[in-house]
Symmetry: C2
């Protein structure tokens, strides 16, 4: 640990920097700890079968705004976000624990709404709520969920297995959750200025649902199994495509070429981004919260996936020294950077 | 779930009421879920070996006050509190995940302090930090920890196994953490009124350490094993002796007689309670945060434990219809009630 040499602002490290900084001295003590900090989930061995554990915390005012996020949707989303990490290990979620801190601003009915969304998601993912903790908060709502899944040793897919030449693939489409959020924030602003004006959210179902009630891609691991494709590395997209690709490259010690024209973007996302004067590609790269699966496969597996409408090949892995690049529609190459949300917000 | 019939205040249910209310409709879906909500930890089967999972959330201003709780101690305590639940299942903690939400009021150095306390505790309990989540908070610090342990099916001890006639036992002594907190609050008040007066905490090491840096009783499960005693039910004392006894009685469907004169209270706890005009017995019954283990054993095991200075027999389990009673030093019997902290605070 550092000597007491003064004050370093948390913002100077950022979330990943802080985690790396704090966890740098961890030494694994138990034989059953197969994988600790640094992937979508931890892996614990238990006589051959592996237990996978992942945890996420959601904070009111940071991760959600109850002005436009119904509590039931929030509950659903909180579970989806967590099990998504388990699927990203190619494992099956089985149990979750749910903790929350809640202020007396919330009623029992409000907590029921939240919990009913959680239970709905648990139904969908067939996971059992096995525990948790409920406590008071001085202000706002904090939700912390830990998801536990299982897989055989052979099934598990980490972030560090990508090799030079592997194809970079993504499920579904990207950027919708971010433009959905922009739409909700616009309507909130209109509502605050003119409370009599009803929000005009008709025709935006897809992008709104992607923001308010995202689903984890539980269908992708069995699909890949059926196609007899085992990805070499996998991660889920919570912070934006660029950030997740950089995680795969850095942990697999590779470079990559990502092709802008291959990034799957739904027409409604594209149109809404344009309405907000946002670049749809930037929404996909940095918007986050898509909860799609990003993975790399051996080139020889390409024929098995190429006809599948749920999977897009968006680039390939290169050697580390070639760097991580975005090849634009115009054909020029730019270093891929993880901008995060802040730089996207226009105000 | 209730129909939308208006607003019910959270305070009308209380923490346990809320948990019970929210979790009443949970149906277990996975074969591997052996025990869900309702014990110190959940139990997950994995080919014979059982995985035990417990989670706790600590909120600034609710569970800790950084005016007198050094961050390193807070980190240590946060881990102790969680592994205590694993020991209370007679299991061995092996891994933990740590999440926190933190505002920019905290510096990197502050987080290092917190984390160094967590790592110190992890050293002590030989558990691996395998993951977590770090996020921003709008105000204050929230810590959520999930501990994972293991045990064989035969080793596990639940809350519901106590039988009529079993002896009620507790490790260590009780009430110290609560009077330690009173002392810290008094010194804080003096400090606020007269910042030049140095806090006078000399000679109070034991009760202060019990509040600021409590240890989970990792020594008790192996001790019991060595003594060839397998408790019939077990729980750790986080909310106060009375509350935990009532949990055992209610889940085991028994009554109990608790003898006031048998409750182990350290002399320094006793004296400090008197200084605050508090009844030492009430501090033990309702103070909480002792993190001692409360358990029941078959009467035939009494000879094996009676000479042990770390274990006190404080009563026995009765039939349900006899009720849950505190037998006072004067010999009269009163219904045992869980008061919680609020009723203890004199201001």
């Amino acid at each position: 640990m550092l000597e007491n040499t003064g004050r370093t602002e948390l913002s100077s490290l950022g979330e990943f920097g802080l985690i790396k900084h704090l966890t740098q001295f961890i030494e694994i003590k138990n034989e059953s700890t197969i994988k600790g900090v640094g992937d979508d989930a931890a892996v614990i061995d238990n006589k051959g079968k592996q237990i996978v554990v992942s945890t996420d915390m959601l904070v009111e005012g940071v991760h959600f705004d109850l002005a436009y996020m119904p509590l039931k949707h929030l509950g659903y989303k909180a579970v989806s976000v967590n099990v998504s990490d388990i699927y990203a290990m190619n494992a099956t979620p089985k149990q979750i624990t749910i903790s929350f801190a809640v202020s007396n601003r919330f009623s029992v009915e409000a907590m029921e709404e939240l919990y009913s969304g959680m239970m709905l998601a648990c139904e969908k993912y067939k996971v059992d709520i096995v525990g948790g903790d409920t406590t008071t908060s001085k202000s706002g709502l904090v939700i912390s969920i830990t998801a536990i899944g299982e897989a055989t040793k052979e099934e598990l897919i980490y972030r560090d297995g990508a090799k030079e030449g592997d194809l970079l693939c993504v499920s579904g489409d990207l950027g919708a959750a971010y433009v959905g959020l922009q739409l909700l924030e616009r309507e909130k602003k209109i509502f605050i200025e003119s409370p009599d004006v009803q929000p005009d959210l008709g025709g935006y179902d897809y992008i709104l649902e992607r923001q308010l009630k995202p689903d984890a891609r539980k269908d992708i691991p069995p699909l890949l199994k059926m196609l007899k494709v085992k990805p070499t590395a996998m991660i889920d997209i919570s912070d934006g495509l660029a950030s997740e690709i950089l995680h795969l490259c850095s942990q697999s010690e590779t470079g990559c070429n990502l092709y802008e024209d291959k990034i799957p973007i739904d027409p409604s996302t594209y149109n809404m981004a344009r309405e907000f004067n946002l670049d749809p590609t930037v929404c996909a790269l940095s918007g986050g919260e898509d909860y799609e699966l990003l993975f790399t496969i051996d080139q020889s597996d390409f024929p098995k996936i190429k006809a599948n409408p749920d999977i897009s090949v968006i680039g390939h892995m290169t050697s580390r020294k070639e760097g991580r690049n975005l090849i634009t529609k115009g054909g020029s190459s730019h270093p891929l950077i993880a901008q995060g949300w802040d730089s996207l917000i226009k105000e």
